[in-house]
Symmetry: D2
Subunit: 286 residues, 4 copies
């Protein structure tokens, strides 16, 4: 993605003429399209697109936005225009295991991820992460028990609102969000979850996978819905394992695939490459 | 694997001294070990091993076998000695889709798979496979309905016995074996099955996977038990998919991963690289 | 890809307004775009796109073609319109090893590959492939020696012309095409080639790779240019290997990755998903 | 690997009876073998093995060591016995890019890697890594110019000797070691290097790969020899790329595969899973 590239992401009921209308509006306001991907869900009759474009020097983005708004209204679009240097306001939720947190922080420091981290929330105290550089980051220790869960979630929600959080990343946050909070964060909360062939329910999934003798283990990044592990899938990947791997080895290999899958999902969200399509996602990967 | 290589595969209750006893017996009868792998299942306290060896020119395999039998008795081993040119007697069961059949036949023709195909059984007529070269192969058309299932399975079992079948491969055989037949074939019947993250039950799994928006699809090769899709896993692998893939595309990509996974599993079985370990397998891959 | 889908593939010097012009022309003639991908090579300043579309029942494709031709002229486009049921006329060249041939024939039989095979040419006699079903296919045995090479290539070229061949696939054809023939087939001849990290020059590459102790082996499908193994890359993939693999094992694993990579490249070519971009390709994968 | 597990790694000229002699010696001194792998290089006629074992409570490791030493002498073995809690003394060399350093430090902190980091040496000042937690680690800033290279390497060598360094890891250390230093560190210095299909020589390899339109990029971890990028390969892996990836994207994806490959290689070295075999390695993976 070129530095000065805008990204326009949209979805709408399908009908003829959408692309022509969008691209004409962009062209007439001085936008030059550098990359574009479209997808039509034939079953749902919904159209999805992402346009990456640059502007002529004398062309103001406000004019593009205005022209496009008219098109969007005509086609009843949901849409979002991402500015070249736009940084998303992200809140990271984490528990004891910090491999995903460490990885996201590293990628953020070296500017792989165009986000502003407006806070790190954990149900473990700050000293749990003393080897990570949290300097300059707001850190909230919000312990949780069954009794205080509602209260703790209210505090999370307060933070989300107070800091204009645009994306919440559950970076191995081991608490199940209530349906209420999950609903409020719908479409802007990404979770990472282990996945296996076949699937396992219940506690200690890596031990179950070991007992079953699986040969691959996986991880799934998905948007959170009220049904925690069942939201729209963004990305999945796997690692090979064998009979020599102990449950501990599976957990270790799981860490690698979890951090890899989560960072891809977050990156695609930040670049506006993902559009929700009911229980599924359209991911316009680069 | 060198041409003249014997393979000794064994399992037994773990105790000290097994490897020393086995390797001393082999050495004293003129065997030179070229490759070996051992595994100890610490939970079940069972020991597994596979030794690949060649014989000195003046050393008869009978002497090795005899010497080893004494060791095996002492340690209560289950064991099997594979001769260098040994070919396993294999029965292939198939239904309408023949991608796994075509792949296994090809690998057999070019001598990738050391097996004798003693028959192909299908619930579809021979002309369904007119583009495959079945010349020289016994073909049995055994159609099946709910009413005739017991009878059809009896005929399969008769073939298994009459032809000394050592391995049955369900190469996309779309009939569920009865518990009775599955039990009789336990440990010598390999099935290939699609797998997904998460898993799906019921009909048209690729359509379910599409509806769920998965990003990887997989296949699992396993030994058949009375619980058809749940036997000990031998091998698994995956293919990446995206929102652009239709259910038809998933089925197409599924064919590729199914044939790849099944041929690996069959190959490892033929080379005696797999040992059953309860509901799991130990796979001594090369 | 939907059954009734047209595919328009194009490239041209980049300038503002291309997409708007194309999509407006399509829309006004009754075309509804279902999938589309665009790419801009910022260095070469060349624009690439592929549009998949269906037509309204009352809209003739001739009108689309005519309207688009005007656009194409204006923007100096190279373009191609693929009709829904279009089948490409393909000539397969093969030598002794037939794993790629067998795989392509299988995929063609089950209608994975929308092509008409107008001939199989080999420098080995037809009986070399007696286990493959070549019924209904023209087969030309064109043996070649250093002395007869020019003559043999002349005969290949005669076949290409006489049968209106649109794509030549070198399915492990072990003869190096002359610069002359390679040049004539430029952009319509796909080769499959082993690849390694690092690369090896000269004879017996799998033995060289074994001597070097590589841990992955690969295959590259590319368009043929006068410099045989150096044409624009279409697809690459790898298989893992280890110290236990003999040169023979590498060759076996090489077969699997070669056939997989070649079939993908051919499939993308047939669906007009590939556009040449100098020494590179743009591949609009699904 | 079980916590209390010893690991005996060895190589020697191949001859009959090695395994029997080794395992008998281990057994008689109270060792119970839990995992073992052997390999025979038929071309070089060299035997390689790794035995993981635990000791009976009343069995001293000294007795095992003594008994084994006699066997080793008899068979002219090179061997190494790793104690259960043994930690290797490691020196990390790094330059500007710190993705491999950050990854190794993280894995070390969470005890994935059984090593003591006895120093970090960089040709960049300590503040380059201010976001990494280097607390408690010796850090040496050793800038280097063409003129001072010999002197700087002498200082590195002094550190290696003074701190009893057992393994040097070039974690994206962008200086080419002199033949002299490389020779001194032979067999105990691991480097990570980008790899491509085909290979590229010279500067800015990712830009070359982009210009060539490759579809996979890779990384190779290898032991350093005087010929920097050509030492015995330990591990390789790849990432898929496409025409949409800029050189910057290739570098980003390269970071992921580089850190993954390097951490695997280091981990296997620390667990004594690697044995040198001329220009190749034998890797007894778990």
């Amino acid at each position: 993605m070129t530095a000065r590239q805008f990204a326009l992401t949209l979805s709408c009921p399908d009908q003829p003429g959408i692309v022509a209308a969008v691209t004409t509006a962009l062209f007439e306001r001085g936008a030059n399209i550098l990359e574009a991907q479209q997808h039509n869900d034939g079953e749902a009759d919904v159209f999805f697109a992402r346009f990456g474009f640059v502007l002529r020097d004398d062309a103001p983005i406000e004019a593009v936005r205005e022209a496009f708004a008219a098109v969007a209204e005509r086609f009843r679009m949901q849409w979002r225009l991402r500015e070249p240097d736009e940084r998303t306001r992200v809140l990271l939720l984490v528990s004891k295991f910090d491999h995903c947190l460490a990885d996201l922080l590293y990628r953020w420091r070296i500017e792989e991820l165009p986000m502003d981290i407006v806070g790190v929330v954990s149900n473990h105290p700050r000293e749990s992460y003393r080897h990570l550089d949290l300097s300059g980051l707001a850190f909230d220790y919000l312990p949780v028990t069954r009794e205080t869960k509602a209260e703790q979630e209210a505090e999370i929600w307060r933070i989300v609102q107070a800091r204009d959080v645009e994306l919440v990343v559950l970076a191995r946050y081991m608490q199940i969000l209530s349906s209420d909070l999950a609903g409020k964060l719908s479409g802007r909360c990404i979770n990472i979850h282990h996945s296996f062939l076949p699937g396992f329910k219940g506690a200690r999934p890596y031990h179950q996978a070991h007992a079953r003798g699986v040969k691959v283990i996986g991880a799934t990044a998905h948007y959170v819905t009220s049904d925690l592990d069942e939201g729209p899938i963004i990305e999945q990947d796997v690692e090979r394992v064998s009979h020599t791997d102990t449950p501990g080895d599976l957990i270790r290999k799981g860490r690698d695939v979890e951090r890899r899958v989560l960072s891809r999902a977050v990156s695609w969200h930040l670049e506006r490459r993902i559009v929700l399509n009911g229980d599924k996602t359209v991911v316009f990967k680069n």
